[in-house]
Amino acid sequence: MSDENFITLRNLSRHFGRVRAVDDVSLEVKRGEFFSLLGPSGCGKTTLMRIIAGFEEETAGEVFIDGQSMGRTPPHQRPSNMVFQNYAIFPHLTVQQNIAFGLRKEKLPKEQVNRMVEEALEMIKLPGYSSRHAHQLSGGQRQRIALARALIKKPKVLLLDEPLGALDKKLREQMQLELRALQKSVGITFIFVTHDQEEAMTMSDRIAVMNDGKVLEIGAPAQLYERPKSRFVADFLGSMNFFDGRVLDIDGDSVVVESPQVGKIRVDRGDAAMSPGSEVVVAIRPENIVVSTERINNDVNTVKGRIDNAAFLGDRSNIYVAVGDGASTVLTLMQNLSGAASRIGGQSGDVWLRWSDDAGILLPGDKV
């Protein structure tokens, strides 16, 4: 992966009637990068990918791949290949013919094509499958063959449209790691479309989070997870507690927020602009909130509550704590170290929640 911008999308829009499926999207993908487009269904991520592949025409804007403007270049002349959501394995062809499908124009000798297919089958760990038909393959195998069929073309960019969505959980997790390892070894730029935030975080170098046709934020997974800049991104990646409040005091780098739900919260200021009295939202990840049965006499970053519900998940528990007058619930996550989480989940008395100054993320107050 280099720092060079390999794929550039400039002010891309796609309108269907009055619906703006893609709304003025600009972004850059680097050579060899694993880049994900993440968002809820209907956010425009698939349309954006189909514009890059040439299946959808942009209403405005431009796509550049390796410095070349794609303009009205039809799909079959673009240096991109795609792995389709349902894999689109040709049902009338064998695995061998499927994988070699895109090589017809190269006019290679038959032995070389066979060798390339064999190598591709090795790569996807399906050696000896060349004479099978599509209906003899499982979902995971189809997915791998679709991948081999696209990669054998050595595209400048591989586009993947939710390719793991149809697989069961175990297989999906295994394929995530395999896909990531494969991408590293072939060094081809991947653009991966998914609605699964965990999947995007597992695999990507960078993620663009989309909603309503717009790209909200672009960044490395940890950056987006730990320091989201909008309420949507904070909410979409992982779980999040949001506390509405008003800025009480600004003291250098730290800000004190008065929240009707949990009292005073002290957070790092970050780069958000605000003044005393501004309406803000403080977001805190469940794993950054500690539950304890010991009374804490501190008037900042702590709140008394009562355990409302606890979901035991084996390695950890999600503990829901009713705070304040019981109207709001705080989600906390507790690792089950030596049974700690299963023990505390059964508590019926008062508990105290606390968190550190750097746990809170300050977001603008308007509910985006």
């Binding site: 079959h76 009338h92 124009k105």
Partner: protein, 273 residues
């Protein structure tokens, strides 16, 4: 106990089935039976075995000419109808066409027209534009009635067709035209074969339109009708009918066999290009 009940050899439904099948097939079996009968009149008792009607048939130039006309007509009509029907079906299944449902019904409407009305109407049209009656005019009328069948067959085949397959082929570097030949056509092939056979059969035994619109060359049904006036020619017709019957069975068996082995052989050929 249940399976014992099912094995009762004699049931009302069984009797019905036997009668039904007999009603269907006995008339058809009379054809070959009397075609070997050594008598001009079609009546029991059977007089004796002969092959002379088949020999006469083979020498009956007018009948063979009519047969040839019908076969040629059927081949051309089935190909033209299937091309038009496939194109219409592709349009209806691929693109969102306004009033798609109504248009489909509109195209299929000739299916329910009484053929005699259609025949008269076409006769009026052809004479108005001074088009002499010929095999061509019969062909046009047959395409009118075959195309809807072809379209319906192809729509049902193409409806389950994943559009992603065509996109995948284009994504892998094929032009829309080669995508059609390497993906759409082989997958649609069983439907195309079914459509060709269906259209051929319809055209081959269609009488009314051919009767109204034929010039000096009759099709086989028209020729057979004209021969019914001459009892001595009837055994020839029986011999020919038996041959056609046999051929139909062979075609149906072939079509079914072809459908079952799938489409891989022809695909191999496109692969080699």
């Amino acid at each position: 106990m249940k399976s014992a009940a099912r094995k009762v050899p004699f049931s009302a439904l069984g009797v019905y089935t036997v009668i039904y099948l007999a009603f269907l097939y006995i008339p058809a079996l009379f054809l070959p039976l009397f075609s070997f009968n050594d008598a001009i009149y079609i009546a029991f008792p059977i007089k004796g075995f002969t092959l002379k009607w088949y020999e006469e048939m083979a020498q009956n130039a007018a009948m063979l000419a009519a047969l040839e006309s019908s076969v040629k007509l059927g081949v051309v009509v089935s190909i033209v109808s299937t091309i038009l029907g496939t194109m219409a079906a592709k349009a209806f299944t691929r693109y969102s066409i306004p009033y798609s449902r109504s248009l489909q019904v509109f195209i299929a409407l000739p299916l329910v027209f009484p053929l005699i009305i259609l025949g008269v109407a076409l006769l009026v049209v052809f004479s108005q534009i001074n088009l002499p009656l010929s095999m061509f005019t019969i062909g046009v009328s047959h395409v009118v009635i075959c195309m809807p069948f072809s379209m319906l067959v192809m729509i049902s085949r193409l409806e389950g067709f994943d559009k992603g397959l065509e996109e995948a082929a284009q994504d892998l570097g094929e032009t829309p035209w080669m995508t059609f030949w390497r993906v759409t056509f082989p997958i649609a092939l069983p439907g195309i074969v079914a459509s060709l056979l269906l259209c051929f059969t319809i055209s081959f035994d269609e009488f009314l339109l051919a009767f109204f619109l034929s010039g000096d060359e009759p099709t086989l049904p028209v020729y057979i009708w004209s021969q019914l006036r001459f009892p001595t020619k009837l055994p020839n017709v029986l011999a020919l009918g038996s041959c056609i019957l046999l051929l139909s069975v062979v075609i149906v068996v072939l079509a079914e066999w072809f459908r079952r082995i799938g489409v891989s052989p022809s695909v191999e050929e496109t692969e080699k290009q």
